[in-house]
Every structure is written in structure tokens, then in C-alpha cells.
Symmetry: C2
């Protein structure tokens, strides 16, 4: 096998190279060749029994790695955010605006504790969540260095999302309430025991306003916050719909289990202990799922629904 050692000129890189040459194998595979790379020239080991190439270059040089430009997966959420942060950083003249970043609970990945605390680690299971987690890190570091004054807020899944049925995997949480309230059928692709974390659009807007106006010093260096929300099962959602709008409305939900959506949703957070955000003044508008449904009827449907 051919082994590429990056940072081969460094202390650990040199010791690793020595050890690999001494062993002649990595695990159960024989080492047939090695390439030693660093930004400064690594010393080529003398008397090695195998061919060793030494390469000195800088991967961060755009001329030698044009591939970044062609890299689509993280284009909008990572490169876009970073370029914006850099535009702020480079603006000069003491410009240090409050920047509110809308992050997501997708920065977390299963398995989870029963309620995810404020110090739980970020192991996203989607590239979307990966990009959000990276932007959170950049926001915290740019703020620490005084380039900007950022606050990142991880919004719960918004429910009830107004508008047309959403094609996102999370769309059904809203669809099964919004569509029946409008007299239409909706598909439920998961079982009723699926638990998830929600907020209505009202507190979502309130969170953004509070993040823009709060004293950011109270957040210290930990500027990314899980927003408060309501943890509920799909079954609890449906029970609330029955209480608020009646059985006839709830009967418009059609159960069509979808294994693909179920597998995605399995990796999603179910519940949080969002203590820190509450302490920093972020408040919700709803105490129950009944409230979430009533807020939708009030704010989006002019107080009426199709019974």
C-alpha cells in the first residue's frame, strides 16, 4: 500500500514516518511506497527500503487546487455564509454589526439522550446540519476576534408552516395540521409515536428579534443557542387537532408509512432542555400543541377553519 503523510515535516509526522518505515507494514498490509508532504520540505529518510517521494506544496493555494470553485455540496450554506462573514470582517471603519444566524437543530445527530442539553455535542447526520454547525463555529470565532457581534439561534422545526405542502422530509409535521384545517387531505408517512421539537412562527420571529437586541455579552463565548420549543409526538399533534378542530378535521389525515422518511426522521432530535436560551431571555408563545394550532388559525386563517 501507498501511504501519504501530510504534515510530514512536523514532529509527530516525522515520528510516524520513522515508525512506519521501521514496521514496513500498516496493520496487515505491506507498505510499498510513501509520500511525505508538507508546506516546508520534509526530510527524506535515509536508507529507506521502499521508494519515498517528498512533496512540498500548499493545499490552500487556489492555483494548485481549483477544485474548490467546483464544489457544490456546501455552496449556499457554507461558502455563502463565510463570504458574507468575510465581507463584514473586511468592511473596515470599526464596522461590527450584530449578525443573527439562523441555525438549526439539524446540527445534532442521533443517538440522543432523552432531552438534549445545552452542552451536547454536534454530530450532524445531514450535510445541511454540517454546514449549519460549521457556520456556528465561524460565527463564534469571528465574534471572539471582534470582526462582528454574532448570535446563532437553532430554531425548532416550525409548525404550522403556512403555504403549500412542503417537500422537505419534515413537511408532514405541518401538513397533517394545515391541510385538514383547510378542508384537504394530508399524508402522514411516519408512526404516531414519532417525537419532535416544534415552535410556531410567532416565537421564531420573536427569537430573531430578541437575538438582534439582547446584550450579546451575556452569551459570552458560547454564542450559539438552542431555542426553546415544544416536544410532542405526532399522536399528540393529532389529539390537539381533534380538541381544537374536531374529529372530522383530524379524519382528513391519511396514514401512508414511508420507510425512507421514517429512516431520516429516526435520526432527528426529539426533545431538548433549552435552559440557557430561556435564561438569556428567549421565550416561547405556546405551552401546548393546542396553542400552536390556535396560533395558526388566528394568524393565517383569519380565525376560521374548514370543519
Amino acid at each position: 500500500m501507498h501511504i501519504l503523510v501530510l504534515g510530514a515535516a512536523g514532529m509527530v509526522g516525522r515520528k510516524l514516518t520513522e515508525r512506519l518505515l521501521r514496521d514496513g507494514r500498516l496493520g496487515d498490509r505491506e507498505i510499498s511506497r510513501m509520500t511525505l508532504h508538507d508546506v516546508v520540505a520534509p526530510t527524506k529518510p535515509a536508507n529507506a527500503a521502499i521508494p519515498i517521494s517528498v512533496v512540498t506544496s500548499d493545499f490552500a493555494d487556489p492555483d494548485t487546487a481549483a477544485s474548490l470553485v467546483g464544489h457544490r455540496p456546501y455552496r449556499i450554506n457554507l461558502d455563502g455564509t463565510r463570504m458574507l462573514l468575510d465581507a463584514i470582517r473586511l468592511a473596515g471603519g470599526g464596522y461590527k454589526p450584530r449578525a443573527v444566524f439562523t441555525s438549526s437543530i439539524a446540527v445534532f445527530g442521533a443517538p440522543f439522550p432523552e432531552a438534549i442539553g445545552d452542552e451536547f455535542f454536534q454530530t450532524p447526520l445531514l450535510s445541511y446540519g454540517t454546514q449549519k454547525a460549521i457556520c456556528e463555529l465561524l460565527l463564534a470565532d469571528y465574534s471572539r476576534r471582534g470582526f462582528m457581534d454574532g448570535i446563532g439561534i437553532r430554531l425548532p422545526t416550525i409548525c404550522i408552516r403556512p403555504g403549500l405542502p412542503n417537500k422537505a422530509a419534515s413537511g408532514f409535521f405541518s401538513n397533517i395540521l394545515r391541510e385538514p384545517l383547510a378542508g384537504k387531505e394530508a399524508v402522514l408517512p411516519v408512526s404516531e409515536d414519532v417525537r419532535h421539537w416544534h415552535a410556531s412562527p410567532r416565537p421564531a420571529v420573536g427569537f430573531l428579534i430578541h437575538a438582534a437586541t439582547m446584550d450579546s455579552a451575556t452569551a459570552g463565548a458560547r454564542r450559539n443557542l438552542t431555542m426553546p420549543g415544544l416536544s410532542a409526538t405526532v399522536g399528540e399533534e393529532i389529539a390537539a387537532l381533534k380538541r381544537v378542530a374536531g374529529d372530522k378535521v383530524a379524519a382528513r389525515i391519511k396514514r401512508e408509512p414511508d420507510p425512507f422518511i421514517m429512516s431520516i426522521v429516526d435520526g432527528w432530535p426529539r426533545n431538548f432542555d433549552a435552559r440557557r436560551a430561556r435564561q438569556l431571555g428567549f421565550t416561547t408563545a405556546e405551552q401546548t400543541f393546542d396553542d400552536i394550532i390556535k396560533i395558526h388559525i388566528e394568524d393565517e386563517l383569519g380565525g376560521k377553519f374548514v370543519a
Copy 2:
């Protein structure tokens, strides 16, 4: 004040804009102007009492944001690693190499629990740690997507680092042992109760080898691991030096407290519960700081030191 809303065409962006226009103020400041931005054109609210600009562009377009190229702070550790990951991704032909990423305990930032567990969150307090944390996220996501087969290992601070005294803020942990063993004086800039997390170069190399050969499936989606180490105070380091090499050697340590270095070190991890890495087969070579010093004398000094 002038408010810029990014993602203004989205649901929450629209609702936020409506709310801000209705309030006419953000916190205690009057809103004099708004700019609504999105990659698709946001709808300009009708009858607004203040000037509203609508901007449609793509921040991720390199032509409109040439600043990325000029962005130095994260050049080597972030852009370099990312370009390398992309080179692997774009190599084609089913190329999916094991990639071992040397991360750092600098991904963590104070305040800490007594021992940092495997699920503790990453809130780095240096740009170095920020870049490492971002690369960890990329490595996990590229591996999840099948572009590569990555394992990230967070090395403890290596002690005793061979070579010349290191100018890094962490250099003294090694300096106060290595220099006295070579008959030279060394400066201790912090107090003896400073606790930190260490490993000798031997297990550091062993960790890299194990990460390159282990069954990565056992790590699942959580591919970044805190390596085992030894938690010790500077006082315990010095006591070990006295036991292994004698009081005369230890007397070569000069105490010169440096408030700047002390303030940096205050934010560093002191102890870990690195259970997961041990379960996955990562093992240390030393049980005590005496072992760390003996390994240095054996591996670097040919078994002798200047008494």
C-alpha cells in the same frame, strides 16, 4: 438603524420583515431603512413607511465575493484540509481511502466539567481549534456520504516534545522537563496547580497507526475521537522530574509567571473521560508522568540525562 434581512424571501424572513415593519423599531432603536436579500427576489412589502431595498444575489458566487481568496485566517487548516478532502472526493474510480485527521483538544473551550466526556460540545476559544472543529465536521460528513473513510483523532498535548523550546503557549509543559534534563534552565510561566492533558510521542504515533488500521465501522457516524491521555498538574510534572532525575535537575526550572500565557492556558481542557476511544482500541503507553519522562530519556536521550 438599517436592517439587512438575509433569506428575506423565505417564510420566517417574510414574517420577520412584516413584524419589523409593523413595530417600526428593533429594541429601542427606530428602523430607518431595510434591505431584503435572497437568492430569489423577495417581495417588496407594499405601503412601507420607510425605504426598502430589495437585493437578489448569490453570496456563494466567487465573482461577486472575491474576498474569500484574500482570507488568510483559516487558510492552512481549513481551506487546505477542505481542498484535500475535495481532491479525494473528485478523484473518482471508487477511490475511498482511509484518511486520518490529526485534530486537537483545542476544539474544546472553557468552562469545562471536571472531566470532559465524549459527548461534550465544541466551543473553541482559538481560531486554531475552530478550524480543527470545522475539519472534524467535514471529515464526518464526507465519510457519511461515502467520499472517503475518515477518522479524526484529538491528540493530547504532546509531552515531552523533543527539539528546541517551542514558542507555542503550550511549550512550557515540555520545556520545563526537556531543558533541565539537558542541563539547561527553563521558564515556567504559570502556577503549579495548572492541570492539563498529555501524551508522550509514543502513543501519539500509536494512535495514528490504530486510526489508520481500525475497523472504522465501529466508530459509526461519530468519527472524531478524543484520544486517551494523562491528566496532571504542573506540580505533578515537577514532582515526577524530581523522582526520575533528582532535585538538582528540577532546580533548573525558573518560575517567571506570565499573565498573558496564564490567561490563554486558563481556557484549556484539564481532564477528559476518553472512554469511547479506549473502547475502540486506542491505548496509551504511560500510566504516570514518571513514565512520560522515562520514555523521553529512552527515545530521545539514549538513556542518559544531565544530572
